[in-house]
Symmetry: C2
Subunit: 260 residues, 2 copies
Amino acid sequence: MATQYAPDARSKANRLSKRATYDAPLIHSLINSCPLLHVSFNAPISDSQESQTQFPTILPMLGAISTFSSQSSSDEDAEPYLYLHGSSAARLFKLTPPGGLPLCIAATHVDGYVLALAPFHNSCNYRSAVVFGLGSPLTDPEEVEFALKLITNNSIPSRWENSRHPPTKAEVTSTGILKVRIETASAKVRTGGPSDDRADLMDEALVARTWTGVVPMYSVLGTPMESEYNKVKAVPEYLGEWVEDANSMAEQVAVDAVEG
Amino acid sequence: MATQYAPDARSKANRLSKRATYDAPLIHSLINSCPLLHVSFNAPISDSQESQTQFPTILPMLGAISTFSSQSSSDEDAEPYLYLHGSSAARLFKLTPPGGLPLCIAATHVDGYVLALAPFHNSCNYRSAVVFGLGSPLTDPEEVEFALKLITNNSIPSRWENSRHPPTKAEVTSTGILKVRIETASAKVRTGGPSDDRADLMDEALVARTWTGVVPMYSVLGTPMESEYNKVKAVPEYLGEWVEDANSMAEQVAVDAVEG
């Protein structure tokens, strides 16, 4: 597997290219650590709309990148794919042409608000990845189960093993998974504090009255709340650890981003 | 201003339509409370790529919806517009055809992970809005300043008044703001706990060993970290209150979502 994606017209940074990277492990980790992905595609324009210009559509979906090795393939030719799952996947299936549906998938993490002397220089610390690829409905039952387990455990570690498995045949058949062959991808990372113009920095009165810096921002998981039909008294260890680990790292990532 | 958007082929819910709403105030509040918006558009296919299928592109941008009333217009004809700002706005300017650039803008808030007996029924509590509209470069200096103030204070309340303003002429000229005329929009809201199949609910051993419920998720703001050139010793009250207010409401929203 290549460790860098090859930029092309779709993924090449047009601006602020010093923030851009094509590093595959980073891009994969940004996708896999994002609670929800934004998936963009073009719905076909129906006859009655032909005069309309093409509007893309965005759907939020769950997804994760990994490599599926079936028994019939060798490990060497295994490439990572992005698997997407969501209640809307079925809609995308119907739109998919034979060669696959062109998709753009974005994962964005906001790490903080950057407050400068002038609002013009305000910014955000963020890490974002964008992937371009062709999505096709996944039909192989073995790979559907692999993708379901991947997406489940990617969100909630060890949940697959600790809930009812394997899926029923009906579940495998009716689960809409899009398998995306990645064509190109890129990431952008903004870190550090504000950066102001010299004229503002020289304005002593402005500097004396205007707080500048970064307000870190991060996601946390709250106390698990049981369902009406839950019978397990204590929150299981694997869930408690997941919440604790996620929360212990989250603030640090946002704080580290300030130090750049 | 209409209180409901009229659904059309772009915004009409295809699945789970009981979760869908076209309520304008809700959609506006989901957009305005989202730290970063995902903006999708179609870049023109260059001659060398003509054989390629159309891939949409997604860019993360800041933005907010509001109504601009200039002195030359009456309040009655004032419609809300979505104003977008970001380092990439300039790229979009170049792509904009005379009638405006077709855009899809998404705002998604994840409120929690929903854990069911079967992974097939896992879900997320979320609130998402999607807006379809035509974007055009904003050039009127008065409205550019209005949009800059709007987007600044939408992220960080009262920051505009508490930092250097008004913007310089050079800042107004070089700020890329896209003004989006909203054509249609919709929102989806998922609340509540898990919902499992009867067969799994009747499986006493499965219910006895599998924790089910919701793990709330929410964003928090951390302790403000001053810049290298900050001279204001204490964090100003308006910033402290913003952090406190945001954090005090965030968890409650995620917990309330579980109760549906």
